[in-house]
Amino acid sequence: EPALIFDLGGKFDKSFNEAAYTGAERWAEETGGTYREIELQSEAQREQALRRFAEAGANPIVTMGFAMADPLSTVAPDYPDTKFVVIDVSWLDVPNLRQVAFAEHEGSYLVGMMAAMASKSGTVGFVGGMDVPLIRHFGCGYAQGVKAVNPDAKIVANMTGTTPAAWNDPVKGSELTKAQISQGADVIYAAAGGTGVGVLQTAADEGILSIGVDSNQNHLHPGKVLTSMLKRVDVAVYEAMKAGDAVETGVFTMGLAEDGVGYALDDNNADLVTDEMKAAVDEARQKIIDGEITVTSYYENDSCPALSF
């Protein structure tokens, strides 16, 4: 029986964790299987949750987020017969661990292009969650996409905070959005987990466009969310669970080519995405897959060519 450990934002953050939940539910529906799950409440619980599931024989144990890296590196070796899966980690050296990372900068590049095309003011915004390299990685891809369309565009970027609480602070998300609007932003990309709910809400209230993240968030405010940068955590979780205890370990990266990232298009935003926009973005997507366009990763040298944080 597999187990799933959600990160602090909680299972229903409408974003990162919810994507995992969607994947797990899909697996449960298709196979009729059941799985164990827990939403962490504090840092200190990580290790206990891992151990408890491992002791109880759960296999594989799917965990969410880079903060699991450290607990996994101590717990996983204690349970060599159990397979562990972690999302957003790619640097550990643990034999019984499957590490899945995403090429978020590529997906963000695409939504950045769309933002630049939808913006009338030439200023777009980015609200990140916790200020960590991962989120800068998002913002960096986004900024490159924006500049690709409109080299003169101004990008206003803010981070919500420096701790995991930043994943779940809609009030601050809302205030940052207002601040960005006052600086002229008329499209804002939220890569901030549960905080993004506040960003999207305020953007809709104030009559500007927003871009969701991880899950498809277009439905939250139909006609007000330009698109969502999809990060197929659901697929990663689904596949891990489907493979069961035979899940392949090692480091896996999911980019545009693997359909690991992308942008969302559905009825809710059909009117917002012009054909021209769609054509341009799809073309860029192909070029990135083909290697004709390279989106610089923030990780390469911890800095971004298009945006300074």
Partner: protein
């Protein structure tokens, strides 16, 4: 900072001061009657949850407000039972209420909505909308002009900016909170009820021997406290935000208490104190790190600033803040 930014920070100050102000006035009524209340936080939290939950289910924000107020009143009644009827320790009762609210909201939220202790996001009539003043720039103007409100306001003159951005466009509860200040003053200093309420916080035996029920007065005060906390909580969940998330009060109840001490238990001063704290929160929310020349104030300092200020104020600026003399002490006639 240009003028519009200042206006916007002040606008945000008003939004953030509102729950503090309501909670502070709530505490004022309770403490003026001699019942200390560190359970403001819990009452607000319970109200936030129940208002959002009922608004989400019924689609009516007014029903939500009523439910939130009721929830807060129930906790007030509990506090009254413990500290008035059974003459228990008021601080401990307050601590228990904070725990209770923090647990029960998530527990019920999970039971009702299964969304990890949240309510669903509130839409349309389930939220308080901003009131648009006459001649102020609002969404209708934006639609007509084919632009956004913020764009129109940015293009307008300073007077219109202040009028439309700062004064107009808040939810009805914001105006209610600020009107509650003169109303509280009037009730406390101009009515019989206010006289008795202040007296019972100073010397309950005087009230008792004057033939007025101490228990009745104190329960009335605690009930007013409950209603105001209820509105504060409902404001958080249905006006400031669109739904309940756990621990969403985030220490506002304690800040309100500190503001109350800072204000020396007086309504107008309470307003100034709350606006000050709201302003600090607005700054901390809007600016990640504040640069002063070469030196950057870290974001953690900004986050902690309201709390640090409370300590500084308590330590130095307040002078001796004499609380109501019978405050915190149960009224015991027979040992």
């Amino acid at each position: 900072m240009d003028f519009l930014t200042i206006v916007q920070v002040l606008d945000s100050t008003i939004r953030l001061s509102t729950p503090l102000l309501l909670a502070c006035l709530a505490g004022l009524f309770s403490e003026r009657a001699g019942i200390f209340d560190i359970g403001l936080e819990g009452k607000m939290l319970a109200a936030a949850f129940f208002s959002a939950a009922v608004a989400a289910v019924t689609g009516s924000v007014w029903l939500g407000l009523a439910a939130g107020t009721l929830a807060s009143l129930v906790l007030s009644a509990l506090h009254g039972l413990a500290s008035i009827t059974f003459r228990g320790n008021q601080l401990i009762s307050g601590v228990a209420i904070n725990f209770l609210a923090s647990g029960i909201t998530v527990l019920i939220a999970q039971d009702w909505f299964s969304q990890g202790g949240r309510t669903p996001s509130l839409m349309g009539g389930a939220r308080f909308e901003g009131l648009e003043f006459p001649f102020a720039i609002g969404p209708s103007d934006a639609e007509a002009a084919g632009s956004t409100v913020s764009q129109l306001i940015a293009d307008a003159g300073p007077v219109q900016q202040v009028y439309s951005e700062l004064l107009s466009g808040h939810s009805v509860l914001v105006y209610l909170a600020f009107l509650a200040v003169p109303a509280s003053w009037w009730v406390l200093y101009r009515t019989r009820f206010g006289l008795r309420l202040r007296a019972v916080g100073e010397n309950p035996a005087a009230v008792d021997t004057a033939g007025v029920s101490v228990v009745g007065l104190r329960f009335a005060a605690v009930a007013i406290c409950g209603v105001l906390c209820g509105i504060a909580g409902a404001y958080l969940a249905t006006a400031l935000q669109a739904g309940f998330v756990k621990e969403m009060t985030a220490g506002r109840g304690y800040i309100a208490l500190a503001a109350l001490i800072f204000a020396k238990w007086r309504p107008w001063h309470a307003m100034f104190a709350c606006v000050l704290f709201g302003f600090l929160q607005a700054i901390a929310l809007r600016y990640q790190a504040v640069r002063l020349g070469d030196f950057t104030i870290p974001v953690q300092v900004m986050d902690a600033l309201p709390y640090i200020l409370v300590v500084v104020i308590l330590a130095g600026l307040v002078g001796k803040a004499t609380p109501p003399r019978a405050g915190g002490e149960p009224y015991v006639k027979e040992r």
